[in-house]
């Protein structure tokens, strides 16, 4: 469903700040795969996601969604195939517009937007039944401005907006990181439910090892722009949080040793 082939990206080329963010990345997601991504800060996780979403052009390599080469397409052109939820709960919704208007915009994901009224009774009913899935009682607040919702509610709405048109690929960029533990738990529960219901092909970045193991059927670990660990369904099931943290610590230790060698 999603294929990332030999993708590289370097920021600030030919300056002192030159940074190789992605180094020859290869990744293949089958229909219905739910891959969690972990890694240190600056490992290239978000860069990988932005590359797939088309926020910037990559230096080399190809990105295919559902067999279609999207490497040259702009972000707004790829939106048809790719749904996204951002870390910032304020980023995925339009605060001065109502809940139903936000949903109506997401409903038209990647389609031509014309001069038809965005809302009608049929759509409203559909939005209501979709919102019921969130169990946040948002279905009774359709005409409220989104800016009045709490962070957790806004993130749940963003998740719904990113998924209810069944995009080919769903990208979740630490979408629970800015929430308190209780809200984060709720969003995780919803993520699991929605991804399972719609059988979405999903890539999820997280800093929480527990979430990384609990959610999804595959796991990858990134470091310095490369994928250094890949777990398939069986390996992931056997993996414990402790083992994963050890692997992670080892990685950071190497990094530390490397630094001290340079500094020493």
């Amino acid at each position: 469903m999603l294929r990332v082939e030999n993708v590289s990206k370097t920021f600030n080329v030919n300056t002192v700040n030159e940074k190789r963010a992605l180094n020859n990345i290869n990744l293949k997601l089958h229909q219905g795969d739910f891959v969690t991504v972990i890694g240190t800060n600056g490992a290239g996780k978000s860069t990988l996601m932005n590359a797939i979403a088309g926020v910037f052009n990559i230096d080399s390599g190809t990105i295919l969604v559902d067999g279609k080469d999207v490497t040259k397409l702009k972000e707004s052109q790829r939106a048809k195939y790719i749904g996204r939820v951002f870390q910032n709960p304020l980023a995925g919704t339009s605060p001065n517009m109502t809940i139903e208007e936000n949903l109506a915009m997401a409903y038209k994901r990647g389609q031509k937007r014309g001069l038809r009224l965005a809302l009608n009774n049929q759509k409203k009913e559909f939005f209501k039944s979709s919102l019921e899935l969130l169990e946040l009682n948002l279905e009774s607040r359709l005409q409220q401005k989104v800016g009045l919702l709490s962070g957790g509610e806004r993130q749940a709405l963003s998740l719904l907006m990113a998924t209810f048109t069944k995009p080919k690929v769903l990208l979740l960029d630490e979408h629970t990181a800015a929430l308190d533990p209780k809200r984060a738990e709720l969003i995780n529960k919803l993520t699991k439910k929605i991804v399972q219901n719609e059988k979405l092909t999903t890539l999820m970045i997280t800093h929480n090892m527990e979430h990384a193991l609990k959610l999804g059927n595959r796991l990858i670990m990134m470091h310095q722009g490369e994928i250094i660990l890949e777990l398939d369904e069986l390996q992931k099931k056997k993996m414990t949080i402790k083992e994963l943290i050890d692997a992670f610590e080892k990685l950071r230790g190497e990094q530390f040793a490397l630094d001290s060698a340079v500094l020493g």
């Binding site: 052109q77 605060p95 517009m97 915009m105 994901r109 937007r113 009045l148 957790g152």
Partner: protein, 325 residues
């Protein structure tokens, strides 16, 4: 009474311009200063075409079209040439000053004894007198007929704008001003939605300019100076008094604000210690007053009932969200 009617009529014409300013500043969140150029451009086009013998209504349509072109140029400078939004508007405005002089061929073009969009209404008055005889009721009608027709026309424009901003395209344009990253991730090219918004905004401004030229019977190259401030004053005064709960309420507020602004100016010019040269000072003072009063004083909150209601609602919503957390 004459003063009130006069400022109502002018207020209604300026309301169209204010609706344009509202679309750029409030909907698109775009500080578009090309208004100072597209307003006199609409006036210049109307004046030129009428002098050349064109039907005044067709001339008005062209005023709107040329205003829209001005908006398109600002938009292209911003989205394609990547010039800062504020500067793009200033550049268009500056260039249009010369263009407007070129269009008119002179700095002031009179429409004396020419047919304008108001001629049919003026011709109707003696006919009505002939039909119904001279009564008190009829003189009232004759006095107010311009205001009523203008009001109906503005109501129509308001309805069209309300409808447009509720369509799929309208929603995309509103989101472009509200959260561009989000609407981009939903597949909208924000460059295009910005362009459409600016074209619509300046078309309304051009239309308003054309109507003003036909109303006052001349077009002057200077008549656009300070127009953006008048438009902003109308938007701000209107939203402070009438609120901005929904799109329908907002457009209503802008029209109301434009009329109130005009009436306040007319009244203050009537006061013996103020002269016409003080008008810009009064305008600036009005805007400052309506921006600060509702926030910083108890009196303001009590005068502007709408604000009080909104605050109550926010408080309620906050309570809900704290409970949820």
């Amino acid at each position: 009474m004459g003063i009130i009617i006069g400022s109502l009529e002018q207020g209604l014409i300026f309301a169209i311009m204010a609706l344009g300013v509202f679309i750029a500043f409030r909907i698109l969140n775009y500080p578009d200063l090309s208004v100072d150029g597209s307003f006199p451009m609409g006036a210049a086009i109307s004046a030129l075409l009428i002098v050349k013998g064109t039907n005044p209504f067709i001339a008005l349509i062209f005023s709107g079209i040329f205003g829209g072109v001005a908006g398109l140029i600002t938009g292209l400078l911003n989205t394609r040439a990547k010039i800062d939004g504020l500067l793009a508007g200033i550049l268009t405005m500056t260039a249009l000053y010369s263009v407007n002089l070129k269009i008119m061929g002179t700095s002031n073009l009179s429409l004396f004894r020419k047919n304008t969009i108001f001629t049919p209404l003026n011709n109707l008055k003696p006919q009505l007198t002939q039909l119904f005889g001279n009564s008190e009721w009829l003189s009232w009608v004759n006095q107010w007929i311009n205001t009523i027709v203008l009001f109906l026309f503005i109501l129509l424009i308001k309805k069209i704008i309300d409808w447009f901003l509720q369509t799929d395209l309208g929603l995309a344009i509103r989101a472009t001003g509200d959260n561009p990253a989000m609407i981009k991730s939903l597949g909208v090219n924000t460059d295009n939605s910005t362009l459409i918004g600016l074209i619509l905004s300046n078309a309304l401004v051009g239309l308003s300019g054309g109507m003003m030229a036909q109303y006052q019977g001349y077009s002057d190259v200077q008549m656009g100076i300070g127009m953006i401030v008048i438009g902003l004053a109308s938007v701000i005064i209107g939203q402070v008094i009438f609120g901005s709960k929904s799109i329908k309420r907002s457009t209503f507020a802008v029209i109301g604000g434009a009329i109130i602004y005009r009436i306040v100016i007319a009244i203050s010019l009537y006061l013996p210690w103020l002269s016409p040269t003080d008008m810009k000072l009064i305008t600036a003072f009005l805007v400052i007053l309506s921006l600060t009063l509702p926030q910083h004083s108890k009196i303001g909150k009590n005068i502007f009932w709408q604000k009080r209601k909104v605050n109550k609602k926010n408080y309620h919503a906050q309570q809900i969200s704290t409970e949820n957390n």
